[in-house]
Symmetry: C2
Subunit: 147 residues, 2 copies
Amino acid sequence: MTTMTAAQKKAQAKAEYDAFVAACPSRKLLDRISDKWVTLILAALGSDGSHQLGTHCAGESRSMRYSELSRLLAGVSQKMLTQTLRSLERDGLVTRTVTPTVPVTVTYELTDLGLSLHQLMRGLKSWAETHMDDVLANRATYDTHAT
Amino acid sequence: MTTMTAAQKKAQAKAEYDAFVAACPSRKLLDRISDKWVTLILAALGSDGSHQLGTHCAGESRSMRYSELSRLLAGVSQKMLTQTLRSLERDGLVTRTVTPTVPVTVTYELTDLGLSLHQLMRGLKSWAETHMDDVLANRATYDTHAT
DNA sequence: CAGGATCCCGCTAGATACTG
DNA sequence: CAGTATCTAGCGGGATCCTG
């Protein structure tokens, strides 16, 4: 079949490349932490009692109820909260504990792995605070020169 | 006006919270590196001559032509490549050099800042390779137990 | 060769309403 | 209280065509 040659091969190569990239552990990690709510939940669960997500102290993971999280992370829809929590539980980053009280009580807490990820996030935070202002400055300069 | 009270306040609080989150340097950093092509371009420009993105050597930034990048990053559209390159240039992470030869020649190269970011990515890579298999294992277990 | 402009599509986040 | 289900709009991203 001469009807499928160059374009077909190219498409296949692309698919293979994409698969290769998708299989990369680094990419999987990025896919996970780049999620807005993942990082926020991590920060919430990883921080101390303060409601300031900005304040990080390498404290132990703080167990929180569903409603607490929903209150703390002001702009999250139940859907995203639940969805994110489930995926984090699935990945073994948080534990979900159901206490069959009269109104059901569910608490979430970081696992060791989750805590470890939280530590990594703090590393990112350091880099961001160190270099992000440079980036922003460059951006401003670039925009100024632009038409 | 009693017509706007609870719901309004809540919406405003949400907006403020979102703004707060968006202003966070860490989030900005995440928004940047979570971009699929950003990380790949970084890897391409930061790695040595090998076409294996997986192989990282803390080598100097390698200057590459537009077409080289487009060839190396198999599954990228010109749009995304250009778009990503421009944003990286804007942020001062890469330099764009135009050489007015007969057919125009444009080369891209990492700046110090870009190189620095590339180093950070390698840190992420380490974490990913160390813990990602655990995550995957947990995920598999979770899926098994599920209905 | 390098890149701008356009159209189009799938995905996913968000709002709303319902349940145990 | 802690979710689940559905519906919709917005936008990121790809393909395609065109220019200097």
